[in-house]
């Protein structure tokens, strides 16, 4: 069953190959650089289409699995594979690849070579995170993705506070991920000590029953790492800075894919590995999520900078995702996965749109604009549709995600869902208020008079996103069907393991006087002694 197809490894490392090719291309001709990158991204996308159509959506187990021993002594293997949950996220990443390159065709003119290499490395990191099934491999890709993002914000951001924003972004993420690394190691040794085999393989670790007391701390560490990435309420302050200072493409990739790392991390690692802690901690996680929804919406309302507004709106949207996920009902989890895709599409598109205006007027202050829809009618149509999609208007994609999430979580957390649903109102308020101040009214500012409407390239960038926004809205089953078995399996696994651990705890209490304190050092020495 394993090593049958090498598609996933190909998809992950083709951008790396592209980066290699780019190294040899002369710096002076950016056109060829861009063409090589976009071709490489397109190949990636085509391959991922093969994966999508080859994906058997009736079984819940991992597919396209590849497993090669990497560092056998420590049980680290290069293991990749996808199931219903990560399939869509993988498609989103590969789908956005070419769009990103097309979007920054004219935007990036300085140091094009390094930019393209950063973009390709970012792509490798992101795809790697979504496909890896080995905790160690996951952590490697998780760190790989940081550096290019830092460079994207730090080098090509707007010169005002880009360094502050870049460093803040990196530090925030690294603090979280270091805690996660510690948790991974503790889990690794704990599993090794009790089952005898030391391995980072995710599926084996799924079966290992972590004692409840330890589970809480490990979950907390994983929670912090992913909550920073999501970003959830108290850890979100890096997002507005990172977005306002990043170049257009940078903030699109940041919003569309990087934020999904956090939520994907929860659904793949944090909840299944520590189900007891996840379910016990569900109430305050959801509390933070709901606070995030309302807080994000309210603060977005009073922003003066368009990008910061959209950044805070993604805090609010991802609060929904977390609410749906921790409800642990089929609708809730499926809604959260679909909402991840929707957020990627609509917020990514919104950032592209803000980028387009920024390209023309070099400012993002809402007060600078007014009456743009008369000057740029086609642009107004696109902007309107994506605003409506991000408000969650039925018939477009936002509604499907939000409705499923609210429906799924209503049974479990009734009052939380009521407050979360009020977030839908505020979403309409801040988006429409911004849309009105930018697009409607007279053309007050003379500079806005002669803005030219969006050209063919920009239309080519936005139309694919538009197609999917409408497709998910009108016929979401194409996306809901593949994830159905995996989501059911995910929920059953969490229930089954939770029951198993609680049962073990009860029986454990009778005979073992106390759970022997597993000290890290002693187990490390034991390994060395073994070898």
């Amino acid at each position: 069953m394993e090593n049958v197809s090498h598609l996933l490894s190909l998809i992950t490392f083709i951008p790396l190959l592209g980066a290699g090719i780019i190294l040899f291309i002369n710096r002076e001709c950016p056109e060829t650089l861009r063409w090589v990158t976009i071709v490489c991204m397109l190949i990636d996308f085509v391959l991922s289409l093969f994966v999508y159509f080859g994906f058997d959506s009736s079984i819940a187990t991992m597919q396209f699995v590849e497993r090669y021993p990497w560092i056998p002594q420590w049980g680290i293997s290069y293991k990749v594979g996808i199931d219903g949950i990560s399939l869509l996220l993988l498609m989103l990443t590969t789908f956005l690849g070419p769009i990103l390159v097309l979007a920054c065709w004219k935007d990036i003119t300085v140091r094009v070579k390094e930019f393209m290499i950063c973009l390709l490395f970012l792509q490798v990191g992101m795809i790697g995170v979504f496909v890896s099934l080995d905790l160690f491999l996951f952590y490697v890709f998780w760190e790989i993705m940081l550096i290019p993002m830092y460079l994207l914000i730090g080098v090509w951001g707007n010169p005002a506070r880009r360094l502050y924003a870049a460093i803040k972004f990196v530090l925030y993420t690294i603090v979280g991920s270091l805690l996660m690394l510690v948790a991974i190691l503790v889990l690794y040794f704990m599993a090794g000590k009790s089952t005898g085999i030391y391995t980072f393989d995710l599926l084996k670790l799924y079966d290992f029953a972590v004692p409840v007391q330890a589970q809480f701390w490990l979950f907390l560490a994983f929670f912090l790492a992913f909550a920073i990435k999501v970003p959830m309420f108290p850890f979100h302050t890096w997002l507005p800075d990172a977005h306002t200072e990043a170049p257009t493409v940078g903030s699109v990739v940041l919003a569309a894919v990087l934020l999904k790392m956090g939520t994907y991390g929860f659904i793949r690692f944090a909840i299944p590995l520590f189900p007891n802690a996840a379910v016990d901690a569900a109430w305050w996680v959801v509390l933070l999520a709901v606070i995030g929804i309302i807080y994000g919406a309210w603060v977005a309302m009073v922003q003066v900078d368009m990008k910061r507004l959209v950044a805070f709106s993604s805090v609010s949207h991802l609060g929904f995702v977390m609410l749906g996920m921790f409800a642990l009902t089929t609708q809730g989890v499926e809604g959260s996965i679909i909402q991840m895709i929707n957020h990627g599409l609509s917020t990514g598109a919104l950032f592209l749109i803000v980028g387009m205006i920024y390209e023309r007027r070099h400012t993002r202050l809402i007060s600078e604009f007014g009456g743009i829809s008369k000057v740029m009618p086609l642009f107004a149509v696109f902007f309107m549709i994506f605003t409506l999609s991000s408000i969650g208007l039925p018939g477009l994609n936002g509604f499907i995600g939000e409705f499923l999430i609210l429906l799924g979580s209503f049974a479990k957390f009734t009052w939380y869902t009521v407050f979360a649903a009020s977030g839908v109102i505020f979403a309409a308020v801040y988006m429409l208020w911004m849309f009105q101040r930018v697009m409607f009214g007279e053309v007050t500012n003379p500079k806005n008079l002669n803005l030219k409407d969006i050209d063919l390239r920009e239309v080519a960038v936005l139309t694919p996103l538009l197609i999917f926004v409408v497709w998910i809205g009108v016929y979401p089953n194409t996306f809901l069907k593949p994830m159905e078995p995996s989501v059911k399996n995910f929920i059953q696994h969490v229930e089954k393991k939770r029951a198993a651990v609680t049962a073990m705890e009860e029986s454990g209490k009778q005979n073992l006087p106390n759970v022997e304190r597993i000290s890290l050092v002693s187990s490390v020495t034991k390994i060395r002694a073994e070898r």
């Binding site: 803040k168 925030y172 108290p234 979100h236 302050t237 890096w238 807080y295 309210w298 603060v299 309302m301 009073v302 922003q303 009902t329 089929t330 609708q331 499926e334 809604g335 009456g371 829809s373 008369k374 409506l388 208007l393 039925p394 018939g395 509604f399 499907i400 409705f403 499923l404 609210l406 429906l407 209503f410 049974a411 869902t417 009521v418 649903a421 009020s422 839908v424 109102i425 309409a428 308020v429 429409l432 208020w433 009105q436 697009m439 409607f440 009214g441 007279e442 016929y475 979401p476 089953n477 809901l480 069907k481 159905e484 989501v487 059911k488």
Partner: protein, 641 residues
Amino acid sequence: MIELVWLIPIFPLIGFLINGLFGRRFSEKTIGWIGAGSVGASFVVAVSIFLELLNMAPGTRSIQKIVYSWIWSGDLNVPIGFLVDPLSIVMIMVVSGVGCIIHIYSIGYMHGEIGFRRYFSYLNLFVFNMLILVSANNFLLMFVGWEGVGLCSYLLIGYYYEKKSASDAGKKAFVVNRIGDFGFLLGMFLIFTVFGTFNYVDVFAAAPERLTQGGNLVTLITLLLFVGATGKSAQIPLYTWLPDAMEGPTPVSALIHAATMVTAGVYMVSRCSVMFAMAPVSLTVVAIIGGLTALFAATIGITQFDIKRVLAYSTISQLGFMFMACGVGAFSTGIFHLMTHAFFKALLFMAAGSVMHAMSGELDMRKMGGLRKKLPYTHWTYLFGTLAIAGIFPFAGFFSKDEILYYALQKNMVFWIMGAVAAVMTSFYMFRSVFMTFYGKSRVEPDVAHHLHESPPLMTVPLMILAFLSLVGGFVGIPVIEGAQRFSNFLSPVFAPAKAIIEHGAHHAGHHSVTAELVLMGVSLAIAILGLLVARYMYITSPETPGRIVERFSGLHRLVFNKYWIDELYDFLFVNSIVEFSRFLWKKFDEAVVDGAVNGVAAVVRTFGSVLRLLQTGLVKDYALSVLVGAMVVIGYLLLR
């Protein structure tokens, strides 16, 4: 033909796509006729389905047509499906019929506007969403139409987007509707948790045994749904958006804010009649709110001078009547009044539109007067509309409003009083508007006066059609003569379960004597004429009396004229406080506290760093000393171990 029910919404959608995508190349005429044609086509399909339905046995008149399964996640399976039953077919006919007439009217009215194409594509999109709303077979699809209609009203109100007031009004309408939809959404979640499905047929069939009669769960569901209805149909708490919605072009007000969208709330309440019947508490709440709104809006209507604002408040008040009808359990009467109201209110708005056209945009009644001679057709059609809405005998309004008062009386005296007072005020302010615009001496400025012209036939013909309908409309539901209640008989199978629950609940069966009914018809006719006479006295015979009354009750007048300062109250209570609080949240909390904490940690690390920096003095001697001390320590440790 019923199989092709999905054609009804598809036609306007096709119209929208054609006008929206390729409209740039078409001339105004073609765009107009594509728009009107598509709505007309769905009207024709609707009528043919209506006829087919007629010759089916009354009991079996409820067919569902599933197109495809829209959302399928876990045990939730929401199909795109249409329900054809008497209630939905009536609504479809009203929407597409009046819609088609309004489309034809707006070809003439919008002639020469720059955004002609955009206007017609939005109008078609609106009719598409409205048809989805009324013909859906499950709550979720209705919610899709519900929000789609909200979106189109946002787009159409904000049609003149250069004007800030227009885009503000559009935004306000959307947000207030959204607040209503919030309640509707919560109601739907409750329904799903209780029933596990959204389909009407299954939900209403399972309602009696799943929900306890009069229990707080069913009351909660129905109240939440009613919150959605108040948002959409502009009842007491959430009505503030409708008067501002007059910023949009007049045909828009005619279609959306008179005939179709605002009636969505009444349709939803009557569709869920079974659940409402099971929750008497919410029924009374509906009736009370309906009555209060009718009364409250009528009082404001009296003092307004802008002709469209008068009609807007009259719409709110008439909707109040419809809700009161539903509240007292007379759902079919509510729908009947809805239909007749659609006819004459659309007529009134369009007539006001042609007056505005003639007066080149002037809306203030104080600058009008004596237009009778210049605008004969508009005058007569407007008069027909006013007679209908006031409830004068042969006109449609008389029958529907009288029926509502009749059932209100049966239910409770208070409702009848509220209805009667509101009826008096309705006829007063309607006739006031007629006399101020068409009769009396002309107060028109000279330059406006000289090019006063009657509207082209393209506008006056629709007016005449609607005038005829508002005359004939009432005969469908003549109360007294046996068998003449064709309208409510037609609707009875839909409301039979609800009526059964109410009868079962209500301890005394209403004595249905013919004489009482005749007396009541006389009383309501008298009410209407009373309003007419007072208006005639005030504005024809002695025009200065309104001035004197205003001085004597100046305080009261100012209060009512400024719409009880409700808008300002809402802004102060909700809008500004939330905006201020979020500004505080952003500036103080987000930047100071959270960011402060992060930067604080960085500062602490920096201070530690500078302390450590002092160790590096740069002098070789110190380094040598530290080497020596280190060596000594190591040796000491080795020795003493």
